[in-house]
């Protein structure tokens, strides 16, 4: 019996992203990082302070997980007084799923 396998569908998912973000000083870094970590599919969040002034902080945000949704990340950041200036690094992995 020769069962033919259909070709597997290849998907890509973001597993790591490094963002250059401008955020307001409140909420402070620990709360900001915890909020990002509460997103689905996010496993690790690292926030490093780059620059600070009276009202704002420039930070480097590193998010790791499986199939990270950048739109959700952007929306959450905007709701917490932060804007993404640039995406500095992205790591995408291939995920293949075999069709039945």
């Amino acid at each position: 019996m020769n069962s033919r396998r259909k070709p597997s569908k290849v998907q890509h998912s973001i597993k790591r992203v490094v963002l250059d973000v401008l955020k307001l000083r409140d909420p402070p870094l620990p709360e900001f990082a915890s909020t990002l970590c509460s997103l689905p599919n996010v496993e690790d969040v690292k926030v490093s302070l780059v620059e600070i002034d009276q009202n704002t902080e420039s930070v480097k945000v590193t998010i790791e997980g499986r199939n990270i949704d950048l739109d959700n990340v952007q929306k959450l950041m905007k709701n917490h007084g932060a804007v993404i200036h640039s995406i500095d690094e992205v790591v995408v992995q291939k995920e293949s799923s075999i069709n039945p």
Binding site: L22, K23, L24, D26, P27, P28, E31, Q54, N55, T56, K78, N79, H80, G81, A82, V83
Partner: protein, 201 residues
């Protein structure tokens, strides 16, 4: 229970973001002192006028409580709202983005209401507490003259307690602050007692 914990955490975050905690402490003491001093003025003024009907003192006191409460609430709400709007606009300029429906906007709205509640409730509560002996006297369970004495002691105790709180906030000698507040109350007492004594001549 979990949702209550979540609400408390959210409130703590709002207080942290808006720094309303420091302002709230100031409002609480300032307005609480207003309430106690107003009640003390009514009590001692009534004594000087030889008012023997507790109902008169209670109604005058409740009128003052209501006025202070409403004035405190609305005054603080409108003032804080204007200040918070300005702060939000400054922040929007800093990040070149709007803050509609953001955490900062929600925290700002919370801060307005919180400040208003403190400014409205603290003078009203301190004044009402001082009037409790007269309310009891209305039901005949206390003589009017005992009510005068107990209410005066309560009003001075409130001032002392507010001073202790300030001393705790300042991390200095609490007793010194407490006594300073009592001295402020004594000034009213001396003047009104002198007027009362002069009036009886």
């Amino acid at each position: 229970m979990e949702s209550l914990n979540r609400i408390i955490s959210r409130i703590r975050l709002y207080i942290k973001i808006t720094h309303i905690g420091e302002l709230a402490r100031r409002y609480f003491v300032q307005n609480g002192m207003d309430g106690s001093m107003t009640a003390l003025g009514i009590i001692l003024g009534s004594w000087a006028a030889k008012v023997e009907e507790p109902f008169v003192i209670v109604m005058a006191g409740l009128g003052a409580c209501l006025a202070m409460g409403v004035s405190g609430f609305f005054g603080a709400y409108i003032t804080e709202k204007a200040e918070r709007r300005r702060i939000i606009k400054d922040l929007e300029e800093s990040i070149l983005s709007d803050l509609n429906d953001s955490l900062q906007q929600s925290a700002s709205e919370f801060a307005q209401t919180f400040a208003a509640l403190i400014c409205g409730l603290s003078p009203a509560l301190t004044a009402i507490i001082s009037l409790i002996p007269f309310i009891i006297s209305m039901f005949g369970d206390l003589t009017i003259w005992s009510s005068y004495v107990i209410s005066t002691i309560i009003a001075f105790s409130e001032l002392f307690a507010l001073g202790l709180f300030l001393g705790h906030v300042a991390r200095e000698r609490m007793l010194t602050y407490g006594l300073q507040m009592v001295v402020a109350g004594m000034i009213i007492a001396f003047i009104l007692l002198a007027i009362g004594g002069y009036g009886s001549i």
